[in-house]
């Protein structure tokens, strides 16, 4: 295996990964061998190790009391928000079919009877002139051109 020289020092992240035991076998052996002979990398590795030891006491912090009863009480008070669910399944949808058909039938019957009362059996389409109130020029508005008004016979 080729050892690195001091001028080929590995990147800091390789040394950092080495101390975390996150390097694969061959790379690990290579970095270890280099750090063993390189004063710069050896010193950095030692500093990473000392930092780890220095940080360990931070793990001793505690809340000072048990939070579980407090949290469970809050859960009981608040509950869990409802998840969005589909209102009806397919079967419930099919159950609406008869009432839907009945409503559609009644609406059609109403329209038919209404037509009989207004125009008898032979319902005819309205003359276009009767719809003139809906044309582009509002009643009382200015004519943009003679053809737009006089063609309708005004």
């Amino acid at each position: 295996m080729k050892e690195r020289t001091q001028s080929e020092c590995p990147r800091t992240e390789q040394l950092s990964a080495l101390i975390d035991d996150e390097l694969a076998g061959a790379v690990r052996a290579e970095i270890e061998a280099h750090a063993g002979s390189c004063p710069l990398c050896g010193a950095m590795l030692r500093e990473f190790g000392e930092l780890r030891v220095a940080l360990k006491p931070l793990a001793a912090a505690r809340p000072g009391f048990d939070l579980a009863p407090l949290i469970v009480q809050r859960l009981t008070a608040g509950g869990r928000r409802a998840r969005p669910v589909r209102d009806r399944n397919w079967w419930q949808g099919w159950q609406l079919l008869p009432s839907g058909l009945a409503a559609a039938g009644m609406l059609s019957a109403g329209v038919y009877l209404g037509a009989l009362l207004v125009g008898g059996a032979g319902v005819t389409a309205l003359e276009p002139a009767a719809m003139a109130v809906f044309d582009a020029v509002p009643p009382g508005g200015l004519c943009l051109g003679s053809s737009s008004c006089y063609s309708l016979g005004r």
């Binding site: 990147r11 800091t12 992240e13 040394l15 950092s16 990964a17 975390d20 996150e22 500093e47 990473f48 930092l51 780890r52 220095a54 940080l55 360990k56 006491p57 931070l58 793990a59 001793a60 912090a61 505690r62 809340p63 048990d66 939070l67 579980a68 009863p69 407090l70 949290i71 469970v72 809050r74 859960l75 009981t76 608040g78 869990r80 928000r81 998840r83």
Partner: protein, 184 residues
């Protein structure tokens, strides 16, 4: 089976069905870890207590979305990390922690001088930690204090393992630099 003997997966499954006692077991199991992580992130005992509770409440709400293939611990820490980050963004100020009250100093047998030295070292270390950007601080805490692997940190923070590797190395270098500066 007593609740305390259930695995995380079993507790989560029961909690998802609405079993609050099973969730209480998870709280007892992880409250210290979540609290100390959040404390080192936000620097205030009271705020850390509040954020710890908030993290567990959010976890309860989100339990139906939890995937069995995810570790509960890393999932919980991702929630805690987001809660701490949001809090820091809101105030944009980092406070310092009164370390004397919440860590184990050397015992009486170590002598008053050794105890004082240990306290000073930790105070300097916390001050150095507080000078790191929050993304570097959280990664150092997850690795060095919570002892998470790169894979677990990657899952907790939602970043690639390559990013974990490079960010952690930068954080360590910066932390050593700040610590040296404080102790010089």
């Amino acid at each position: 089976m007593p609740q305390g003997e259930l695995t995380d997966q079993e507790c989560v499954a029961r909690s998802t069905q609405g079993d609050r006692n099973a969730f209480g077991t998870l709280v007892r199991r992880y409250q210290d870890r979540v609290y100390r992580f959040v404390l080192r992130m936000v620097g205030s005992h009271d705020e850390a207590l509040e954020l710890t509770q908030e993290a567990f409440m959010k976890a309860w709400q989100a339990l139906p979305d939890w995937r069995p293939e995810a570790q509960f611990r890393t999932w919980l820490f991702s929630i805690a990390s987001n809660a701490a980050t949001d809090s820091l963004r809101r105030r944009k100020v980092v406070q310092f922690v009164a370390l004397e009250e919440d860590y184990d100093t050397p015992g009486e047998e170590a002598g008053p001088e050794a105890q004082l030295q240990a306290k000073q070292n930790l105070r300097a270390l916390q001050a150095a930690l507080d000078r790191l950007p929050h993304d570097q601080r959280e990664i150092v805490l997850l690795r060095e204090v919570e002892d998470m692997s790169y894979g677990e940190i990657s899952a907790a923070l939602g970043i690639s393992e390559g990013t974990v590797k490079s960010r952690l190395a930068r954080a360590r270098e910066a932390l050593i630099g700040h610590y040296r500066g404080k102790n010089a």
